[in-house]
Amino acid sequence: MNLETTILFILCFFALAGGAAILQQLIHGFKKTNLCDHYVWGIYVQGCFFLSSLAAGVLIILSVMILLNIKGISRLAETGSIIAFSLFIGSQILLGIDLGKPSRAILMLKSKNFHSPLTWDFYTLGSSTVLCLIYYLGILPQTRGAMLAWSLLSLLIAYLCLSVHTMFFLSRAKGGYQTNAFSGLETLLSSLLGGTALLMLSGIQMRLSGLLLILAVLLLGTTASHNIALLRQNHNSKSVLILNLAIVLLLLVEQSTEKFLQAGSIVTPTAGGSIVALTAAAASLVLVFIEKFNAVILPQRESILPEPYNQFQDKSPYRPSLKEINVLIGCFAICAFIGYGLLYVKAGW
């Protein structure tokens, strides 16, 4: 058995374990979770936002490259569409298991309440998945017009998908951090950062550390300015800032040692990435996960009712239970299995 097949079998084992954990959750409901009326959305929704953010990031990068007609990206586009597809599937699994009555989700097709961000979430996630699948299966006519149409549509839908995720607490959260509808620059940048990082880690033969550095610097500036502007509102994104700074420093070290600052080096078709760059990429994924914690869990930590009415309300933090963590890891394993499996089939290993 070759190495690729062994990896596939290992991933299959973990995906099956993940499937069992998910099944258990579906049968027993939220019994062993730490979700409650104060934290109605927990690590499942955080995970869903995380996976869809990475997937949307990959899809946006691919679309822009196709739109700009960048040459030599066919391998990247193929791998990228597979990665995005599996991540979108994973995010929908997480969204589904977070429902109290998952079988009723089918009613979404009938109701079409476009006032609801969840409706947009449903449609954007679904159509992004289909767009990735179309690319992967190669059923898109190989004409410039068809590619342009695909990339424009993907760009729009992936951006919509990200923007929708900034709207859930609009009616109750204080204005500002993570609540600016359709202009969540931080959300967009962290998605692009995560998408780039994932492409780097997937082993494509293209050097993306320059792009990662630019995105990390932009995100640092946006998060820092948000923190300064909202200093009094006690929005805690210090961990994101520190990690972001570390990523920038790591990438600067990598760029300077490899003398990679000359023009045109943002995306260079050379082999692999250095250990430093890959470490920065892995740290970027952690950053996106924390950013999603700040977007989903933090707004719920604050009481819904303002002072002084919330004086005696419980303000304890949310900690996911072991079962929730199990399910999340299981879902990640399913994503990895789907992604790797599709690559396996495509490459004919």
């Binding site: 009938k110 961000p117 109750r172 004086q311």
Partner: protein, 201 residues
């Protein structure tokens, strides 16, 4: 016709009789309450005092919960009552996240009040009205309204601080009391246009 409620906070003594009456009438499982009283302290010791804010659902005219519901399981009726259709709700909790008054609860599980003891006949009957994995909220006791009765929290209040009636009828006791007491809704700035008014105490 738009049902509304006035709560005179100058009269409220924070006894929680309304919360108990609500639980009793609706037979809510343990851990679920469609009504709550927010207690808070104002002033500094030794001149501080406890104050109370009783909160049923505000039955907002411009209801964020209704907008947030992706499958139309939250509906606003012609009488102004915002209702969750239990047989339709898929339990996504988007409405809970959207409600700025913390007026909705998710049925995580259906529990008895006395965990060690067998379920009482009353609980057995009432628990059938709740579905695990869906969202519940106050509906101004619409079943009582159908029988010509006032909501349980209104009729039980010992200090008679609540008035229930039709907001659309300027001649109703409710409309007159709102005008006379200069009553206002809670968090008016959110522009949800609630049907519950308060006279501040």
């Amino acid at each position: 016709m738009r049902y509304g409620m006035l709560i005179d906070l100058t009269k409220c003594v924070g006894c929680n009789a309304c919360t108990v009456a609500c639980r009793n009438h609706n037979g809510t499982p343990s851990g679920i309450s469609l009504h709550k009283i927010m207690k808070y302290e104002v002033g500094k010791f030794p001149h501080s005092k406890m104050k109370f804010l009783p909160m049923p659902c505000m039955q907002c005219e411009n209801a964020p919960c209704e907008k947030a519901c992706p499958i139309g399981a939250t509906v606003k009726k012609s009488n102004g009552i915002v209702e969750v259709l239990a047989d339709k709700c898929m339990g996504c909790r988007g409405c809970v996240a959207a409600c700025p008054y913390d007026s909705r609860q998710f049925v995580w599980e259906i529990k008895n009040y006395y965990e060690q003891a067998p379920v009482t006949l009353f609980e057995k009957r009432k628990q059938k009205e709740f579905q695990k994995g869906t969202v519940v909220k106050c509906t101004f006791c619409q079943k009582r309204l159908e029988h010509g009765l006032e909501p349980a929290c209104v009729s039980t209040c010992p200090s008679q601080c609540r008035i229930f009636g039709d907001l659309d009828d300027p001649g109703s006791e409710l409309s007159k009391a709102i005008a006379a007491g200069n009553a206002r809704p809670f968090r008016e700035d959110l522009e949800t246009n609630p049907s519950v008014y308060y006279i501040n105490g």
